[in-house]
């Protein structure tokens, strides 16, 4: 009986010991065969380079120099024109003319029949309505002549790699000009000379800086189609005094002035 209990007790001990041995030597982690396999396509790269949007103002269509353009040669006389008055005016600063072609702000107006004080100048042009610096008295169909403004041509060139639909221009007058300095464009082709004309188009005054000497105008946007590597516009600075100087600044905004986005399949 006692021998039976001894055998039973030692059998249990043996079983426990066997389990301890088995546990201590059993594998304790998963094999690497359970790791997840992934594949990567051979990495490739592609470069993306942005274009440039920039214009410069220069004296020629091929100018590429950056920086402000100073016009110091506004000395060539231009702007001679003649037309007739289309409505009677009496002691008034506003007159109506049959044609405003060739008339610029700063022109001196004369009338063969009198009624126009000496040195009366054009101070504003709106369509066929002219605003003058003094009161005049004229009859309907009276002939009037305009002359005595000064000009210098310059060019705005697209030197960037992106075509443009607009650019902006500003002007700072370096010396006083009583009626301001105007920047004019031509819808056709400028024919430069002392009596410059706009062949095949009309002259339009883009803006006039009338704030006086050393004043800077706000930027005015000029729209059009301006391809890369080419002259965007030829413009003319006009004022009523010889020897005036002005500085031209041009700029382009990527937000408003660039061509429309292009979709390319490559």
């Amino acid at each position: 009986m006692q021998r039976g209990r001894w055998i039973s007790r030692n059998f249990r001990l043996a079983a426990v010991a066997a389990l301890v041995g088995a546990i201590s030597l059993a594998p304790t982690e998963l094999r690497s065969a359970d790791a997840v396999v992934s594949a990567r396509a051979i990495p490739t790269s592609i470069s993306v380079t942005a274009g440039t949007a920039k214009v410069v103002a220069g004296l020629t269509s091929g100018a590429t120099a950056t920086g402000t353009l100073t016009l110091s040669g506004i000395t060539t006389s231009s702007c001679s024109a003649s037309t007739t008055v289309t409505a009677k005016v009496t002691a008034a600063q506003t007159i109506f003319v049959a044609s405003a072609t060739g008339i610029s702000i700063g022109n001196i107006i004369t009338a063969a029949g009198g009624g126009v004080p000496a040195n009366t100048r054009v101070t504003g042009i709106t369509g066929l309505t002219l605003t003058l610096s003094a009161n005049v008295t004229l009859a309907k169909n009276d002939p009037v002549a305009f002359q005595g403004c000064f000009q210098q041509f310059f060019s705005v060139n697209n030197i960037g790699s992106i075509a443009l639909l607009a650019f902006s221009i500003s002007q700072t007058s370096a010396s006083a000009s009583p009626t301001g300095i105007s920047i004019q464009g031509c819808s056709g082709t400028w024919v430069e000379g002392s009596s410059a004309t706009c062949s095949g188009g009309t002259i339009s005054t883009l803006f006039t800086n009338t704030s006086g000497g050393s004043a800077t105008s706000s930027f005015t946007s000029i729209s059009g189609t301006f391809p890369t590597g080419a002259q965007a516009r030829e413009l003319r600075a006009v004022c009523d005094r010889s020897g005036q100087t002005t500085q031209i600044n041009v700029r382009v905004s990527t937000a408003t002035d660039l061509r429309a986005g292009i979709t390319t399949n490559g």
Partner: protein, 214 residues
């Protein structure tokens, strides 16, 4: 006293026997397990049944045009550039969870305004159009995602099973809006003239492990 001594000796003898039994059982149990493990390893190494691992190959190739082989130049805000590549699982294992990571380097200002969307067509793309069925893989035509946010991004609607149809992808890179002003031809510090290099990594995971009886 003899009786006492005999009892003590008998007890000591029993105790010694117990220790021996325990020790023998411990070593024996361990040996039992160890021998079974080694037996399994030996069977894998020399067994007659072969085990061949499958393959998973995620292969990207140029479809038409330049693919990724030629850079994109002279872009402006609003421009869209489409590139065409093929992507296929040419391995023997089905794939799972395809993703894309794009890492930009170079001009961060440019990278940060670039957007991308990817479409798949069931037939070859022709001049930007899909005459079959097109589906979005990443983003959508109207809602491209920022390139800088494509990090392990999930790709959808791809054929990822083994030897499945090639994925004909149109990758559309859109230049987002930006406002920079260039005065008198002097470029500001920004994106203009800058270059961003985009590294593309398409990744495919293996299918889930399976248990095969047989």
């Amino acid at each position: 006293m003899k009786l006492i001594s005999g009892t003590v000796l008998q007890s000591a003898s029993r105790f010694t026997v117990k220790i021996l039994v325990v020790a023998a059982a411990t070593v024996g149990g361990g040996a039992l397990v160890s021998s079974s493990v080694f037996a399994a390893l030996t069977a894998e190494a020399t067994g007659s049944s072969s085990v061949e691992a499958g393959t998973i190959k995620w292969v990207q190739t140029t479809a038409t045009g330049d693919g990724f082989s030629t850079g994109i130049t002279g872009v402006a805000p609003g421009d869209i550039q489409n590139r065409y590549v093929n992507l296929a699982n040419t391995g023997t294992l089905d794939g799972l969870t395809p993703t894309l990571t794009i890492v930009g380097s170079g001009a961060a200002a440019l990278t940060n305004i670039l957007k991308v969307n990817i479409q798949k067509c069931t037939v070859a793309w022709a001049a930007g159009s899909c005459s079959g069925t097109a589906s979005d893989v990443l983003g959508s035509v109207g809602t491209p995602v920022l390139v800088s946010s494509v990090t392990g991004s999930a790709l959808t609607n791809l054929n990822i099973t083994s030897a499945s149809l090639t994925n004909r992808l149109k990758i559309t890179i859109t230049v987002g809006p930006v406002t920079e002003v260039t005065t008198n031809g002097v470029l500001p510090s920004g994106i203009q003239g800058a270059t961003s290099t985009l590294a593309w990594t398409f990744t495919l995971q293996q299918r889930a492990a399976v248990t095969v009886e047989g």
